[in-house]
Amino acid sequence: MNAANWLKRAGAAALAAGAMVVIVFLSWVPWRGPEGDRSELRVSWRIPAPSLRHCRPPTEAELEGVPGHMRPSEICNEETVAFHLTLLIGGDTLRAGPTRLTGRRARTLAVYERFPIPAGSHALEVSFVPASSPGLDAASPQMDSVRALGTTMSTRVVAAPGHVVLVTRGDSGRLVVSSTGPGR
């Protein structure tokens, strides 16, 4: 084999090896997200869907044609109560508004939200209370159990860079803050 052929073979081998090296390096590319120095406030919990049950005796018209054994003693409908979630960090509002109602079938209301926050020590205020809406029977005795699902909290949190401040709801219904990282 002449020199040109050797050179060609060496080039072919080098290119194949180079392609493999490119694959290896593209397979492991360090990337630093912009949030590296920041923290995150995360709120996550779920409660049984808060609702008011309104019942009344059926009207004559509603019972007409219904066989005796199938006549209901009362007709009920359920009104879901929206909840309002407010988050303040260092006095600044991160969020204030109704929570999205999910899982109506499963009769749950789930809260899950994430907010980037600067690292450091902050005053955190959380309020999760039933939202008043027109037509809501605030005087209903059932409202007491709905209100009991609500909760508020005011505390100081230390948010370490790159770490998460997590607010969850304990078994007793009280909000619990957990966070990791230096300074905790």
Binding site: K8, G11, A12, L15, A16, A17, M20, V21, I23, V24, L26, S27, W28, V29, P30, W31, R32, G33, P34, E35, G36, R38, S39, E40, R42, S44, R46, T102, G103, R104, R105, A106, T108, A110, Y112, G162, H163, V164, L166, T168, S178, S179, T180, G181
Partner: protein
């Protein structure tokens, strides 16, 4: 315009790779087969990893696999690098198909299923990295959950699973592992669909390329094994993340994009890719017509049915007055590659204007024209090979060496060497050409898939419609060269000329009569070119229409046909 530019760039790249590796081992031509090879490597290495993976402690089990003194670390890396190469090769393969215009018409099924294959490959990679449950896996899982939460499917936000309040349930990792194993089953089904329209799909690269690829991946895995990244921690922000750019290049973009916008962009991308068969097809009047069978000439020999690279031909019962069978082309499957034109001894099939009879008419004009000189070498130049000039297409000079007026070879341009009927070669030799060099594209890059393969078999290995024994094989040669590889054609030409110089000068014949030696049904007087079965049956020997040989009085110089 842009597509043409990219197609030229691709052809140039092919030319360089051909020079380094030779067309037999050029990996660019084998990109689809390399993906299948990578899938096979992933399957074997994946089975090994499965023995040691624990859904109860995913990251710890990966660390343990990595610490195995034998095997673990490099098998894991091999699994990963094969997955990376699969994506790279699939993209090259798709790009080639697009730039070569092999994405529409009967190939639409292959294209669309290809898009799904790529999509499944990505989802499989996604689940694979979540299995590792390192920081990249965490990011993929949380971003995936964010995307899912934008859909009105789940009753609770899926993202809450990753809130960090509780450890992730094993059920999640079980589900993920199940998907990681189930998706490859889907891949196999789609692969079957993908190649269902092609006859004899080539699923693996040639053995030497196969083992070189596996060897290179293994060496890479041994020398540069993939490290195990930090374990996932849901209470930390995934900021310092080593990304596998083949599978996660879009993650940084996704993090800054709202879920609806990401869905919109992803859906648009998939929709555009899936619509390529409609967007990229030529205008109706420019689309090549499917093959047509002359029921008058067809003897139902089955050769075109065997040779068609797209399984588009069936031999069916005649529905005309004749008894027996006849070839039938399914226009929905025919890509108009023209390979069948070279298969048919009685020249009864081929796309309009490209049948054996059309080719003979052209070569007769060529021999009678100015471009041809008796005693010259004729280069039958496939439009996609280096014989057709730099970049192919037969629109440029063949090459500086070979086209010098008066002394160089005569060039007979053809659209595809795989369409070439051997009678054309015989005609040229008997017309006094010193030799015939067929410049064909590299076999694994034939746009009609199997053209060069059948060409060589017809010229040298007695495949129907074979080059007749009466033709001196020493005066016929085939050179494979990609569109920019004019050097190989020049070199082949020089060597061929030297070989021919050792032979006596050819004696041209005054009159050439090309016989076809198939039996042709009765009713030859009814001229038809319809694709459907028609007309009565019966067999008589038949010669080609005399009109094709106007220049020479018939009879002289005729050699015996088989059976005579």
């Amino acid at each position: 315009m842009l597509k043409r530019l990219f197609a030229l760039m691709l052809a140039r790249l092919d030319g360089w790779a051909d020079r380094l590796y030779g067309w037999k081992w050029n990996p660019l031509y084998q990109s689809g087969a390399i993906v299948v090879l990578c899938l096979a490597v992933m399957l074997v290495t994946g089975i090994y990893l499965l023995f040691f993976y624990r859904i109860g402690a995913p990251h710890e089990s990966i660390v343990r696999i990595d610490a195995q003194p034998w095997g673990g670390r490099w098998i894991r890396s091999l699994h990963r690098y094969a997955a990376d190469l699969a994506v790279a090769a699939a993209v090259v393969h798709a790009l080639r198909m697009f730039l070569q215009g092999r994405s529409w018409g009967p190939r639409a099924l292959a294209w669309v299923s290809g898009v799904f294959l790529l999509f499944l490959l990505y989802v499989c990679g996604w689940t694979g990295y979540v299995m590792v449950w390192d920081v990249q896996g965490q990011l993929l899982a949380t971003e995936g959950a964010r995307l899912l939460d934008a859909l009105p499917i789940f009753s609770e936000p899926v993202s809450r699973t990753f809130a960090g309040a509780e450890p992730l349930p094993s059920a999640f990792f079980f589900m993920n592992l199940f998907l990681h194993i189930a998706i490859p089953v889907g891949l196999v089904i789609f692969l079957w669909l993908h190649v269902s329209r092609v006859a004899r799909p080539v699923l693996l690269p040639p053995r030497s390329l196969l083992w070189t690829t596996v060897g290179l991946l293994t060496v890479a895995a041994l020398l540069l094994p993939a490290p195990v990244a930090q374990a996932a921690n849901l209470l930390r922000i995934s900021a310092d993340v080593p990304l596998d750019l083949f599978y996660a290049f879009w993650l940084p973009w996704l993090r800054d994009t709202s879920a609806p916008a990401a869905w919109l962009a992803g859906t648009l991308l998939v929709a555009v890719l899936a619509a390529v068969p409609i967007l990229a097809r030529p205008r109706k009047d420019r689309r090549p017509a499917p093959s047509v069978v002359s029921t008058r000439l067809c003897t139902a020999c089955h050769q075109c049915e065997t040779d068609c690279p797209y399984d588009a031909i069936r031999v069916v019962e005649r529905t005309d007055r004749r008894a027996g069978k006849v070839a039938w082309v399914n226009p929905a499957h025919c890509v108009s590659c023209g390979i069948c034109a070279g298969s048919c001894a009685p020249m009864g099939v081929g796309p309009p204007g490209r049948t054996g009879r059309d080719q003979l008419a052209r070569v007769r004009d060529f021999v009678g024209g100015d471009a041809y000189r008796a005693g010259a070498i004729v280069v039958v130049a496939c439009g996609r090979s280096g014989g057709a000039g730099r970049g192919g297409s037969n629109t440029r000079r063949a090459s500086p060496d070979s086209d010098r007026a008066g002394e160089g070879p005569a060039r007979f341009p053809v659209s595809c060497a795989g369409n070439l009927h051997t009678s054309v070669v015989e005609y040229l030799v008997r017309a006094g050409a010193r030799g015939v060099l067929v410049a064909a594209c590299p076999p694994r890059d034939c746009w009609g898939r199997e053209g060069p393969k059948w060409l060589v078999e017809r010229l040298y290995h007695e495949r129907e419609a074979e080059l007749k024994a009466r033709v001196d094989r020493r005066r016929v040669q085939v050179a494979h060269a990609s569109a920019f590889d004019t050097r190989s054609v020049d070199r082949a030409l020089r060597e061929f000329a030297a070989e021919l110089a050792r032979l006596e000068s050819p004696a041209g014949e005054d009159a050439i009569r090309i016989d076809t030696d198939c039996e042709v049904p009765e009713g030859a007087g009814e001229d038809d070119a319809g694709a459907g079965p028609r007309g009565p049956s019966g067999v008589v020997s038949r010669l080609l229409p005399g009109a094709l040989f106007r220049r020479w009085p018939a009879g002289t110089g005729r050699t015996k046909a088989r059976g005579e």
